[in-house]
């Protein structure tokens, strides 16, 4: 008895292939929407802290994606050859830059720390919006 082969629909494949691009776009759009609101509702320190947090989060997400792509290239033996040292150094540099940015914010103003923390959750917000969008898309396609 053979199991039936599951073939994903091309429409669904295209939908998921674009998901990463949509998350990145959301991570660029969200700070432009939220920063003015924070400036008006709280003050400029919180808004600047939020921008710093967003920059750190975007950089962090980019390096995470690069590291995962490198890992996938190695596992599947595809893609161009990259230096393992470069990727590891980039990974460590990511942590160093995050620590340096956070230290600078901590030292500058206590109020901006809350903005920084809010900014660090930018990828989570973008992923949640993407999840809602994908659920909507799946419901519309009828699963």
């Amino acid at each position: 008895m053979s199991t039936p082969e599951i073939v994903p629909s091309p429409e669904a494949e295209a939908f998921y292939a674009n998901a990463y691009q949509r998350i990145v776009r959301l991570m660029i759009i969200l700070p432009f929407v939220i920063t003015p609101l924070l400036w008006v509702r709280f003050n400029r320190h919180v808004a600047f802290g939020f921008i710093a947090g967003c920059l750190i989060a975007v950089f962090n997400f980019y390096w995470l994606k690069r590291s995962v792509s490198f890992l996938a290239d190695r596992v599947t033996s595809t893609g161009r050859k990259q230096s393992a040292t470069g990727v590891v150094m980039g990974f460590l540099l990511r942590y160093f830059l995050i620590a340096a940015g956070a230290y600078g914010i901590f030292k500058s103003s206590a109020a901006s720390v809350y903005g920084l923390f809010a900014g660090l959750f930018l990828p989570v917000g973008a992923i949640l919006i993407e999840a809602v969008y994908e659920t909507y898309g799946a419901l519309r396609r009828g699963f």
């Binding site: 998921y16 997400f61 995470l64 995962v68 596992v75 595809t78 923390f117 959750f121 989570v124």
Partner: protein, 101 residues
Amino acid sequence: MRKTMMYVFMVMAFMLLAMPVYAQGGTAGGNWGIPIAAGIGMGIASGLCGLGQGRATASAAEAMARNPGARPGIQFVLILGLALIESLALYTLVIIFMKVG
């Protein structure tokens, strides 16, 4: 001789630990456990997040090695998973910062 020296060092270590006993106590003295709990909590959260990320990465690598054709989907889910696991450690940091700071 070796045993005597061991006792001497043990007593010295005990005296070093006992030094704060002679210090003047604070007036409140009720919230000394918060920094300790914060440190332990952050350690547990970071450790478990590290374990979770390692497990997710190992599973994804195994899945990609078994089925290279499914790489785009697995890679995308892995990126999302790692980002969300990292955010859990951040949640802990925020809670600790609000309690301690």
